[in-house]
């Protein structure tokens, strides 16, 4: 009977120690995950996530040297996973080739997603593309308008998922 009680006590002792070691392991794991996420996303966030365009409201303009580019995305509000029309107006430069837009996320590599632009005359260009949904929940995207021979301009904006 005494032996039985001591075995039970030992079992209770072991299980308490086990729970404690599990709790410590869990805290270490969560710590590693938080630090890992912070280290992985910090450089990209600091350099690139200053939103400079409210694409839901209308046309955005950005300049780089003599080059001024205006971008309009329709339909509004700008939602992911639907066909979007990108209208670009270029001032201060005449592109050597057709300009294009590279879509991506500042915080994550998403692979090549390029929108080919076709001239509509008088320095305006148009193309269709899709902003895909990132399951991480991050909503900030960029549209990098490249004007061959004149440079590029980056628009950073939020989309709706």
């Amino acid at each position: 009977m005494k032996q039985n009680n001591s075995a039970r006590g030992k079992q209770r002792h072991v299980s308490t120690a086990g729970i404690l070691s599990l709790a410590v392991s869990f805290l270490i794991l969560i710590g590693i995950l938080i630090i890992g996420c912070w280290v992985a996303t910090k450089p990209a966030m600091a350099a690139d996530t200053i939103i400079n365009c409210d694409a839901h409201k209308g046309i955005c303009s950005q300049s780089s040297g003599d080059l001024t580019v205006s971008l309009e995305i329709t339909p509004r509000p700008v939602k992911a996973m639907q066909d979007l029309v990108f209208r670009v107006s270029i001032e201060g430069a005449s592109p050597a080739k057709q300009p294009h837009i590279d879509l991506g996320m500042p915080a994550m590599k998403m692979g090549p997603n390029q929108v080919a632009l076709k001239s509509k005359g008088q320095g305006t260009y148009e193309g269709t593309g899709v902003i895909v949904r990132c399951p991480s929940g991050k909503r900030t995207w960029f549209a990098n308008v490249s004007v061959p021979g004149s440079g590029e301009v980056k628009f950073i904006f939020d989309v709706i998922y």
């Binding site: 392991s25 270490i28 990132c134 991480s136």
Partner: protein, 244 residues
């Protein structure tokens, strides 16, 4: 003469199947694999590696990756055939949501089974029937006694929603739209996604190999952390799946 012309046309047609998108998407898969997949799919691969315990990792992980590439290729084929990313994406959204929730449940069950904290009898309640079809299936998947079980897991997890996969599917739909005929469209869509999937394999293999190292697997504490990691990943998947 006609037959000769037909043959020539056929040859030209098959030549056009070789698309510059293929090497681009192998490279994309490779780069995204080390940058993105390690973060998103890394915990799953680590969980699968830890779950193998003393078994060899090569065949199960080859099968897991083969399953993923098969799903990607099939999705690519459908994208190529329709030529519309948004149309297909809207149809598979529900399936992806379901896959995410199912994957979460599966990963939690694998974690619980690996830890040994809760027996299958407790998971399935008093009515647990070890010989039942569902219980048998869950037990087989969670214990992964046969490496072949990694293939359906790869097929299922290939359906998980992921930004770079969407981007590759977008390219597959674009390639299909530019194809000369429906057959070429399907082949090109499949080709783009197969190349993308193959490109992601080295990164996931590396993670699997790191988690498979002997000194790591011999430590009981790693199994406990691994089980906790699996349960956390499972809960995260279910939460994300519900909100998706």
């Amino acid at each position: 003469m006609l037959a000769c012309r037909d043959r020539e046309r056929l040859n030209l047609s098959s030549m056009s199947f070789i698309d510059p998108l293929y090497p681009i998407f192998i490279a994309t898969g490779f780069a995204v694999g080390f940058g993105h997949c390690i973060g998103m799919c890394g915990p799953i691969v680590v969980s699968l590696s830890l779950n193998l315990k003393d078994k060899k990792f090569l065949i199960p992980h080859l099968l897991y990756n083969a399953g993923r590439v098969v799903t990607y290729s099939l999705l690519g084929g459908v994208m190529g055939a329709t030529g519309s990313f948004t149309l297909v994406a809207s149809h598979i959204a529900g399936m992806q949501k379901g896959a995410m929730i199912f994957a979460g449940i599966l990963i939690i069950i694998m974690g619980l089974a690996m830890s040994g904290w809760i027996s299958f009898g407790k998971i399935f309640g008093d009515s647990y029937n070890a010989g039942g079809f569902v219980s048998k299936g869950f037990r087989r998947l969670s214990q992964l006694k046969s490496p072949a079980a990694y293939f359906p897991i790869g097929i299922l997890l290939g359906l998980l929603p992921c930004g770079p996969v969407y981007t590759a599917l977008l390219a597959a739909a674009g390639a299909g739209m530019k194809a000369a005929d429906p057959f070429e469209a399907v082949i090109k869509g499949m080709g783009v996604m197969m190349c993308f999937g193959l490109g992601t394999v080295p990164a996931l293999f590396l993670i699997a190999k790191l988690a498979d190292m002997g000194w790591l697997k011999k430590r009981e504490v790693i199994y406990r952390i691994g089980a906790l990691l699996m349960i956390s990943v499972g809960v995260y998947f279910i939460f994300k799946g519900i909100r998706y």
